[in-house]
Symmetry: C2
Subunit: 236 residues, 2 copies
């Protein structure tokens, strides 16, 4: 038995992350140590360490003597999300434009290709994960230890919220998705040019598009939620 366990450990970690991001494990789902331990041929000790790590990153919540459960989502967290997201996203993209390395820009372009492919022929989960990966890269570009924790936490719930509308139900959503893709391209251009102002503005635009989609889903019947009061996206 060499370092097979190490591999299984990181596999488990990735598996849990994608399962949570794609809602295969919904918010509030209890994670069973015994069954996961068996499934991944890993003893409970390293398994529990993975739980602790995921808890630190915000994927799960740990309850004393009552195991791990997938982080919950409520209308309160949605309100918090609408408040924090534009601020953090704006800062991250601005810093990304400032600090991105050529290698990272390549990574970003690659992530965008994957995203486009997922739009053409992927599942909702594929799209959410590809989109998530794109934004993860921008986070690495920004490279600020103090902003990344919140940014990553936002990305988790953005993916989960997104999973509810990444399977387009009508023409509006299809159009929104291709617009999102176009914005990704614009973001790449801005970052490559080191244009901080443009990147920052694109973050707002991108956020507002996402916001519109979320509102569309969350209150299809026109239910009125108190969702803050940001400037809408700039005219094209």
């Amino acid at each position: 038995m060499k370092d097979a366990a190490r591999l299984r450990k990181s596999e488990l970690c990735e598996h849990l992350k994608t399962s949570i991001l794609t809602l295969a494990l919904g918010p509030g789902t209890d994670l069973d140590e015994a069954s996961l331990s068996e499934e991944f041929a890993l003893s409970r000790t390293p398994l529990r360490e993975v739980f602790r790590q995921l808890a630190g990153e915000g994927y799960v919540e740990l309850r004393e003597n009552r195991g791990a459960r997938v982080s919950g989502m409520s209308y309160t967290t949605l309100r918090d999300f609408f408040l924090a997201a534009p601020m953090i996203y704006g800062a991250i993209l601005q810093l990304a434009a400032k600090n991105a390395t050529p290698a990272q820009i390549d990574q970003l372009k690659q992530a965008q290709e994957v995203f486009k492919a997922a739009l053409r022929s992927g599942s909702g989960a594929d799209r959410a994960m590809a989109n998530n990966q794109f934004h993860e890269v921008t986070g690495e570009m920004a490279d600020n230890v103090y902003l990344l924790p919140s940014f990553r936490r936002l990305l988790i719930d953005h993916a989960r919220i997104g999973m509810t509308f990444y399977r387009p139900q009508d023409a509006t959503m299809v159009e929104n998705l291709s617009e999102a893709s176009a914005q990704h391209d614009a973001i790449i251009t801005a970052i490559e040019a080191g244009d901080e102002a443009a990147a920052s503005q694109l973050a707002i635009d991108h956020w507002n598009l996402s916001r519109d989609q979320i509102e569309l889903f969350v209150m299809p019947d026109g239910l009125d939620l108190p969702l803050g009061s940001m400037a809408r996206k700039t005219p094209a």
Copy 2:
């Protein structure tokens, strides 16, 4: 053997946190599992879980097969800090003013009393910890899961940076400390009144004061660091 281990575990956790915040364990210090295990009469299994948790909160960094070490600090992280702090602090205090409960306001007043006591007769570590506690409470008031991770991460390094100037060396620093205390009082007032705008502005003021102290220490010889370009504090 009942739940004594549970207690030892949280004790260890608190001990490590305060040791790191007060620089008793400096940035980059290696944490030895064996000796800590013996000191706290705790086996390595729960000890390692504590490490993972602290890593999630940003206190330590975990390196594969090479143990835990206290999170490092460099000029780069300091630059990141100057960039992220005003933004996050502003948002947190604004939200605190919006959402604080009476019970939390009591907590905040209590924390401020402890802080004042520490200013009168406490050590540098006492002051840093009391100040940290005060701001922790504001974080709980803000109660936004997406902002708290970054806020808490900032508080860690703010305490550590602060430890270098919480033992006043000259008259300027003594004056700054009493001004910081006065600002805390003003913050309490703004939060109690639910005055978001005032709280937000006080966050900037409080940050700028802290910023001046840090600059004073970091570059006592007038070394020029690229430290961003925020508006200075508002005139009293």
